[in-house]
Amino acid sequence: MIVSPELDRRFRDAAVTLDLVDVGFDVVDSPIGPLLVAASGEGLAAISFRTDPEEQLDRLARIAGPRVLRSAKSIDPARRELDEYFEGERHAFDLFLDLRGLFRFTVSVLNELARVPYGQTTTYGALAERVGRPRAARAVGTVMNRNRIPIVLPCHRVVGSSGDLTGYAGGLDVKLALLELEGAR
């Protein structure tokens, strides 16, 4: 028995309206390719360049709880701000973030990362210094590598001390594209 798209959407919308979902997600289009975006009651919880939902469901459940549901409505604010960002109209995000379950060091690094301005770059070492752990550049690199909310938490603005791009979860071409969009390259 096929569930019609209309019936399916009605259920998903009602679930979100009634606040019965721990984390809602959807796949959105962007100039750098499709993104899987997830939001909980606390705020934006994840952005992923890997967009096969089946691959992400367990990870999302671990972040916020088992009631994971795909729903366009659940990520409306994030979708809007991302669209504006990719159109070059938004230079800072006004979204609440769900950073539950992360280590204190990770959160302090991400907080500093969030303050790196649009269109500028910094280095792993400089970020390590700013969280008061000047010798922890490598650990900062690991935090960037595992950043679960890329783009909004701008790990693409962090480069090697010689200025090379080093690495990026979405691929170096995506990192470069984001820096170009922001006029940093």
């Binding site: 028995m1 096929i2 569930v3 019936l7 399916d8 009605r10 259920f11 009602a14 679930a15 309206t17 009634l18 606040d19 019965l20 979902v21 721990d22 939902p53 089946e54 469901l57 367990d58 999302l60 459940a61 709880g65 088992p66 009631r67 994971v68 549901l69 795909r70």
Partner: protein
């Protein structure tokens, strides 16, 4: 010791069982009424999902919920048919029927009122759904109702 079966993310559970649920409801209620009952079934499942202790027998569990929703629907229909004077009601789900009344309320109060008077849940269940104490759920529902009364009276 056997390890308890993990509770799957709801999306996977829903994708796996939605066809069976719709089939059962259509057989019992016909195509049209099955649609609202379908939504109601998975909303009930979602409400209880956070309190599940393991992921066993989920198919039987959701089909039981669907069965109960079908019974409720049939009971409601019979009651309406017996009351000749009653104007015909449409089949909107409870939260939609109450939407006009509850529009001005905050999210907690609205949820408490809808779950109590629209879905007839106990305060214990409402508390579980809202993640609050039973007293807080009772308080939210009664504040909500008072607010609605005041608005209707004015």
């Amino acid at each position: 010791m056997m390890q308890a079966v993990a509770i799957p993310p709801f999306e996977r559970f829903y994708e796996e069982h939605r066809s069976d649920v719709l089939r059962l409801l259509r057989r019992r209620l016909g195509a049209q009424r099955a649609e609202d009952a379908f939504q109601e079934t998975f909303l009930r499942a979602l409400r209880a999902y956070a309190r599940l202790e393991h992921g066993e027998h989920l198919r039987a569990w959701v089909l039981t919920i669907a069965h109960n929703v079908a019974l409720d629907t049939l009971r409601r229909t019979r009651a309406t048919e017996e009351l000749v004077e009653t104007p015909s009601t449409d089949d909107r789900p409870a939260y939609a029927e109450l939407a006009d009344l509850t529009d001005g309320l905050g999210p907690k109060e609205r949820a408490a009122v809808v779950l109590r008077y629209g879905y007839d849940l106990s305060y214990e269940q409402i508390a579980a759904a809202l993640g609050s104490s039973e007293d807080a759920a009772r308080q939210a529902a009664s504040t909500g109702v008072r607010r609605i009364r005041r608005r209707i009276a004015s």
